[in-house]
């Protein structure tokens, strides 16, 4: 289905918001501004056609439950940033890309194929009481922020402390 393309104003407004949010959270948008602006337009198009900003580089049937894992920023962004220095669509890139230490490229799809996906499952499994935690819990030693993921975030979203200030909590 086609929708009128988003206006330059809409794209610029969302670009600025995403850039601000990214930098505040310790993330970075791709410095290739033209490439990034096109992805931002893609997010606006998807927002219009599906009602949520699903990844511009992934196909969607417009079912939010099925697409929860690919609503931007997707479930796969952080592991992809860690492993490949960019997310799947390359809207987000790592510090090293920003410092021009490594190039950005097209990366493999981390999202399981349709045949292996359950609606809304994404990468996560539901924790069960008394069982081993599905993810380790990390604690920011500066502000006490807790998060459950494979590795601590690069920067604490609350106090901006760096990754090395986190300790294993659970």
């Amino acid at each position: 289905m086609t929708f009128p393309p988003p206006s330059d104003d809409e794209a610029e407004t969302l670009y600025k918001k995403l850039d601000r949010d990214a930098e505040e959270g310790g993330y970075h948008l791709n410095p290739d501004r033209e490439f990034t602006k096109n992805l931002v337009r893609g997010l606006l198009v998807n927002e219009k056609r599906f009602g949520y900003p699903s990844c511009p580089c992934r196909i969607s049937f417009g079912n939010r439950e099925e697409d929860r894992d690919i609503i931007c920023p997707c479930d796969y962004r952080d592991p992809d940033l860690d492993q490949y220095n960019a997310c799947y669509c390359a809207l987000y890139v790592s510090d090293d890309v920003l410092k021009k230490k490594v190039p950005v490229g097209s990366i493999p799809e981390r999202r399981p194929p349709r045949s292996e996906r359950r609606a809304g499952a994404g990468l996560r499994s539901t924790p069960a009481a008394g069982r081993q935690l599905p993810f380790p819990v990390w604690r920011c030693r500066v502000c006490g922020y807790l998060c459950a993921r494979e590795t601590p975030p690069l920067v604490c979203p609350v106090c901006k402390a760096t990754k090395d200030r986190f300790e294993r909590f659970m």
Binding site: N38, I59, G62, R114
Partner: protein
């Protein structure tokens, strides 16, 4: 696949080349631009712009060549070679 409406870009014949792409995807745009730059005869389709009733069929077609059903998927000679993602070097080597 033949029933699906593909856009044809005329050029030097290097086999049957079909690009499955998304209109919103940056890597798809780069792949499409590279094919144009190489000047090879090819077909492309923006799968996300298909009406819902044709979407399933198109994705199944992509999944035949690329089980992940991801984009861009470049199919050369009915699957003799399949290039997934914007692999500039591989595409140039295969079609340049």
């Amino acid at each position: 696949m033949n029933q699906m409406k593909m856009e044809h870009v005329p050029g030097t014949l290097k086999g049957k080349i079909t690009l499955f792409a998304l209109s919103t995807c940056g890597w798809c745009a780069k792949t499409k631009a590279l094919l144009k730059e190489l000047g090879v005869d090819h077909y492309y389709i923006f799968v996300d712009l298909l009406p819902p009733e044709e979407l399933e069929e198109a994705i199944k077609e992509v999944e035949k060549f690329n089980p992940h059903g991801s984009f861009p998927t470049l199919v050369i000679d009915n699957g003799t070679r399949v290039i997934i993602g914007f692999k500039e070097h591989e595409i140039r080597e295969a079609l340049g």
